[in-house]
Subunit: 115 residues, 2 copies
DNA sequence: TCCGGCCATCGATGTGTGTCAATATAGACG
DNA sequence: CGTCTATATTGACACACATCGATGGCCGGA
């Protein structure tokens, strides 16, 4: 999963019809309470990584469900995974979060403030 | 639709189970290509507002479908609407975008950079 | 080599959602 | 009041998705 290649804020110029699909996929991945919490837990975890066992323990959900959510977040480039011994560790991709944050930022003077 | 009341970045501390639901609703609204383009068109429009006729002309979709997407964006507080004469004008809520942008921002030193 | 723990994949199921045509509502204008 | 335009609501339908149990794959230890 490469960069979104459209880091101009949404409020600066209309997003293209093609790019909107790629961006929407990432936001859709964030549009679930469980995935939001997973991302937040991983991001704020010590060493910036967490194994599936850590995550499963934080939810009242089955292990396949957690694994499914992790796959969704990984497929859109928000997480990466690495296997060490029996455990699989997940980390956030900071560039990805930064991209989204920049996309939602306000280009200094929106909402008709400049009169 | 009030503030999300949880402006600490996701990467700073795990988001609460309750707040994650409210935040996920907003991201879910952004998780559609059409809604992303609508939001971007409205935000980058002159005077920061656009009527439904402007938006309908930008898509190859039926008018009810556009109206539906506008309602979704409005329900999560990303847009406001105002009726003037026969037309309804939509504007973005900059605070809402700023909230989300802050939520995705990186708290200076994620991904274990500090060693 | 076998067993047990960790994680991913598969198949099924109920629920949510994007879309449309049809209809309703609201305002402008005769 | 009647009609036309602009927008919202309703009902229906196909599709996507979150969740689970069952199963499979991978690895370490005995």
């Amino acid at each position: 999963m490469e960069l979104l290649e459209c880091c101009a804020p949404l409020a600066r110029e209309p997003i293209g019809a093609e790019q909107s699909g790629a961006v929407a996929r990432v936001f859709k991945a964030l549009g679930d309470p469980v995935r939001l919490r997973i991302l937040s837990i991983v991001a704020s975890h010590v060493d910036g990584e967490a194994c599936v066992c850590d995550l499963s323990a934080a939810f009242d959900l089955s292990q396949p469900t957690i694994s499914h959510h992790l796959k969704v977040l990984k497929d859109v480039g928000l997480l990466t995974s690495e296997r060490r011994a029996s455990w699989v560790y997940y980390r956030v991709v900071p560039e990805r979060l930064a991209e989204l944050s920049a996309l939602l930022s306000l280009p200094a003077g929106v909402s008709g403030a400049v009169s």
